[in-house]
């Protein structure tokens, strides 16, 4: 019996061993190696030498590429906000109004993943083209000035990122909404939770306006125009969609999903370089573009490794804060 018990005790470790070993060798060790490599000097031809004195690489990298870092942060945050605005009502609709079509709707949300995301991004290039299927006719009809363009601007990059990661925001929110007991909402209504008319309208207008102005300022567009558009959208949402039961029952209960979704959107959005490369121009380069070109075009491994390490450290710090608030289990299982 003793031997049998020992085997039973070992079972979980035997089950874990191959997969965990793979992750240790090909995830953990490379991360450590990357940190070591950031202290290298030299070139691919002459070989690299390690010296702790090369910590200056970090200072150089940060000062040289601070605008790209800032851009990644701003684009990532903007895309996350846009994703949330699109995803929440969508997830809400699927969870509470989906009925028997719930699974079909969920499938439609993830269906874009079955196409190459490079091809989808390429499609946006066609859709957003200067004389493409959207702006071409609008320009011909005189609704837009001929020099109007979205492609090769921050707006195109952010729209592309928001598009790519929308399912990552929608699914966790859906999961947390789905768990909500419908009787709680009924109970709230029985206790006179009403439509929250003036509050929703005023609150929606203010929040929408602020988000609009923030986006406008961050992307150096006309903050007033974007702010007014944001305020209008906010007014509509606040007036028609937000009720007291949503605000005080549904929203708080779905916050874990919102946090998980924002994380799953923000992290890949910050590291993204494909959208910036395909939909942007040289003025929209993000830190991912720099890392990629340092690594693959310039073979400048020390700088690239330092940049990657800074990016990863920044993101892990944010994840750690989130995980502290929510618990890792909640985050990982929401996917």
């Amino acid at each position: 019996m003793g031997a049998r018990q020992r085997i039973l005790k070992l079972t979980p470790y035997l089950l874990l061993a191959p997969g965990i070993l793979w992750l240790l060798v090909f995830y953990v060790y490379p991360a450590i190696q990357m940190f070591i490599s950031s202290f290298w000097t030299g070139t691919l031809e002459t070989g690299f030498t390690f010296s702790l004195g090369n910590w200056t690489t970090y200072v150089d990298a940060l000062t040289r590429y601070q605008s790209q870092f800032a851009r990644s942060l701003v684009y990532g945050a903007a895309a996350t906000v846009i994703c949330f605005i699109i995803a929440y009502p969508l997830a809400y609709g699927i969870a509470f109004r989906g009925g028997r079509y719930k699974n079909v709707l969920l499938f439609l949300v993830i269906a874009p993943f079955f196409t190459s995301f490079l091809l989808r991004t390429q499609s946006w290039k066609i859709i957003l083209g200067d004389d493409g299927i959207v702006f071409g006719p609008l320009k011909d009809l005189g609704f837009l000035p001929p020099e109007f363009r979205v492609l090769a601007t921050p707006a195109a990059v952010i729209a592309g990122i928001a598009y790519n990661f929308l399912p990552f925001m929608t699914l966790p929110i859906y999961v947390s909404l789905e768990k909500i007991d419908g009787r709680l909402v009924e109970a709230a209504k029985d206790l006179y939770a009403g439509p929250w008319r003036p509050g929703g309208t005023i609150g929606g207008t203010i929040i929408g306006g602020l988000v609009g102005v923030g986006l406008g300022l961050a992307l150096s567009y006309d903050a007033l125009v974007i702010g007014i558009i944001g305020a209008l959208v906010g007014t509509i949402i606040g007036t028609f969609f937000v009720s007291e039961s949503i605000l005080r029952v549904v929203l708080p209960l779905s916050l874990p999903g919102v946090f998980a979704g924002s994380l799953l959107t923000f992290i890949p959005a910050m590291g993204d370089f494909v959208n910036a490369a395909l939909l942007g121009n040289t003025q929209t380069r993000m830190i991912g573009n720099v890392i990629q070109s340092r690594f693959l075009e310039n073979n400048d491994y020390p700088t690239a490794a330092a940049l990657s390490f800074i990016l990863m450290a920044a993101i892990l710090a944010m994840v750690a804060i989130y995980a502290k608030v929510l618990g890792t289990e909640e985050l990982t299982s929401a996917r």
Binding site: P12, P18, Y27, V109, A111, T115, F117, D131, D272, I315
Partner: protein, 310 residues
Amino acid sequence: MTDIAATLPADSRPSSAVRAGRYVKDHLIYVYMALAIAYLMLPVAVMALFSFNDPPGKSNVAWHQFSLQAWLNPFGVPGLSDVVRTSVVVALISTIVATALGTLIALALVRYNFRGSGVTNALIFLPMATPEIVLGASLLTMFVAIGRQPFFPTNFVTILIAHIMFNISYVVVTVRARLYGFDRHLEEAAMDLGANEWTTFWKVTFPIILPGILAAALLAFSLSIDDYVITSFTAGRTNTFPIFIWGSARIGVPVQVNVIGTTFFLIAVGFVVVATFIQGRQNRPPKVVDRPDATPTPAAERALAPAAEA
């Protein structure tokens, strides 16, 4: 309030206005959902549409005229059939390996209480929380560091290593979700009826978690076949389908690429539809009433039947 409304005649103005307002409010969410899903599907539709295009030059970004040329000759671009084959082979192998490794981890995590499960959970979560570019970059630095002179050859094998690595976590999370809803009593019943652990696993546990494993495999396959970012760091001179697309994006993506993209999409959708249909037939009657969140019992019972007979 409600009393006053009830005493008013049904066709009076305020009540119909209120009703109209409520109708709009109730249905606005459907309009919104339709728009959001249209937004999600629009690029896929454009990709499919442009697979029927016949552009005059190399760049396939403006509609010119309808043509079936690319569909009749899908590999009519030099190198395209090779990169598609490489991508499919990489996706198949990495899916099989990652699904096996990930399922074992999921079983260990859900079934056993052991020291280090917290660390394991964190190790599973971290690769998903790391941006792809960092995953790829760190692998490349490791290959460079190991290789020194001569440079460690990045090739087919290094692509596989990377794809298995990033797929494991997704498999664990997907299979684990299925295991959480699992009724342990079914296994206990099998054991009570004389089945040993091995028989119980293959006759009870495995059939029940199989849909979860298949879902994980499908996810792993689609992540692998679509991966550009990590692959670009680990591929060396080996080309995969996404790398081919990236390379041709500057000079113009050939129409054939859209054809293959559309075909992949249709195959994946068809696969899901068939799988859902089969599962739906298996799970139909009788309905589980008392435990709506439990794993579908009929399938479980059928799975249990052979073990019970044994």
